[in-house]
Symmetry: C2
Subunit: 320 residues, 2 copies
């Protein structure tokens, strides 16, 4: 039974997209440079990327009182609702430090300080609870499940991103939440680990049977695969002259992907393909600079120009 | 000054495609099975793949007297001229044994017995010397150079395949032969090693400056990139339910690629794109079984069906 205020919330501030994930500091070393305690976190990248496609988005996360107010103001300036972002007085924000190997495809984690994340309990503001699109960024499966459970109705689309770590330490709860979602985004090695199958085609079938109708396999500089039933779509990553820092690329992809879907509100396979291309386009910006720098000042035309480069990159006339 | 016999050779038995490379035995272990002393070698895979596109092809290689006659007869049955294949009495064929890791993207070499390859001196039959297309399979750069030097005229297109090993032990002679060719095919890590650049876009520019007009970067299950000047084309690898043994996939790709070009005799970028797709289609067959088994009985329609799957895989309507 809905209260009157719920009713008005639904009409007047219906949230298209709800994102949960980390908002954090990262220290990063790549072969091309170092960045010390820069803004990072899955929800930061996701929301920022999505903000280029939809204005109705709410963020669920937690930071300490060390997180710069101007960064929060910046998110708000991008029409990101941060009502669901808890700020814990006297505590510190989540901090991750990592060093990329020369080939940029693998990295070592140097430091992980959970800080405020250790006992994070996500609380959705009322205005988020009727969101149509939900993006569950990489976090413990339990937190991801708690977000789903707080929604008033089953959202139109729930996308979940996760990683091998949760498969190692919390496979059962991960499978529980995977059962509740529509799109799973993981990388190729994770798809193999989750399914126990080497072939990504077979892995996709097994993962479909676990619940999600769609599977997106993110392969970093090697592109991304979209599976639905027997249908497969492949989007390459754009070959770039400058690959500076891959941190956040997967989250930026996810943000562009779900942002595009929330904006177009069309879950056909043809539209999901476009969402994968827009996600890939957003990720191609992310890697060009450290942190969220390159995502801060994008123009609409720049995004469309990138999409055109995807078309050129794969277009051929088979003359069959 | 041409002799009369050269003149007639040119008219009556002009060789479209000349291939040099190994013809060998392989012992292979993958997570899916073992194959002991099966037929392998770069020139075997290249010629066989190319034989589906052109009938005018000559093979240059060396084997011992242990190489089964029926396998040589099979090559001949595919219209592959083996006049340039030396058979060394009392000697053994090149033998390689390897074991693939669980992820199939890396492998350990267990045994390398050069045998007849140790003092291989390629000798081109007269009938090969006017070939228009030359495929230099992975071998010492010196042997590759000797093949080029024996051609009567500059061929229309010389494609060279090589590997990191020659960059480690013979970089100078490798660069000498790279200067003489039109298309270099290497993998992504090798492109980075050869150029000293991480970005494949920058690596391609540096490699262009070394000589080759075209660069093909083979990324195995992640597809292939074609570069010419500022133009880039990407062909994915087909996601397959069954990936049995990657051995020979790169050579099979090269064979389909140059075979298609020799058949169409068109070096425009648009046609080079199609050649990359046909090469990728041939490679997608190669990995489905051990050795050359899957390449032995392909029907024309099967190849076209694979090409159609490439179109479906990457096709999208951007609605820009």
């Amino acid at each position: 039974m809905q209260s009157l205020s719920d009713f008005f919330n639904q009409i007047f501030s219906c949230m298209s997209l709800v994102t949960v994930g980390t908002v954090a500091f990262d220290s990063i070393e790549t072969p091309f440079g170092k960045a010390d305690r820069v803004v990072g976190g899955a929800a930061t990248y996701i929301s920022l990327a999505a903000s280029y496609f939809t204005e109705d988005l709410g963020l669920v996360s937690v930071v300490g009182d060390d997180f710069p107010n101007e960064e929060l103001e910046y998110l708000k300036s991008r029409d990101i609702n941060i009502e669901g972002l808890q700020i814990k007085e006297g505590q510190k924000s989540f901090f991750w430090a990592g060093r990329y190997h020369d080939n940029m495809n693998s990295r070592d984690t140097l430091v992980t300080e959970l800080n405020v994340l250790a006992d994070f309990d996500p609380v959705l503001p009322e205005s988020y609870k009727d969101g149509d699109y939900v993006m569950l960024g990489n976090l413990t499966p339990e937190i991801q499940m708690k977000v789903i459970q707080q929604m008033n109705n089953r959202p139109k689309l729930i996308v979940l991103d996760t990683m091998n770590f949760w498969m190692d330490v919390a496979m059962d709860s991960l499978k529980d939440v995977i059962q509740e979602i529509d799109v799973l985004t993981i990388n190729d090695e994770e798809a193999r680990q989750l399914s126990g199958e080497y072939s990504l085609v077979k892995a996709a079938q097994i993962i479909h049977d676990m619940g999600p109708r769609f599977l997106v396999i993110k392969k970093g500089e090697h592109g991304a695969l979209l599976f639905e039933g027997n249908k497969i779509f492949f989007a390459p990553a754009l070959p770039l002259a400058q690959v500076f820092d891959p941190t956040g690329a997967g989250d930026t992809f996810a943000g562009g992907f779900i942002g595009y879907l929330a904006n177009t509100d069309d879950l056909s396979f043809e539209n999901m393909k476009r969402a994968v291309i827009y996600g890939s386009a957003m990720a191609s910006f992310c890697v060009e600079e450290f942190s969220i720098s390159r995502l801060k000042n994008l123009q609409g035309d720049e995004i469309k120009d990138r999409v055109r480069r995807f078309i050129e990159l794969v277009n051929f006339d088979a003359k069959l």
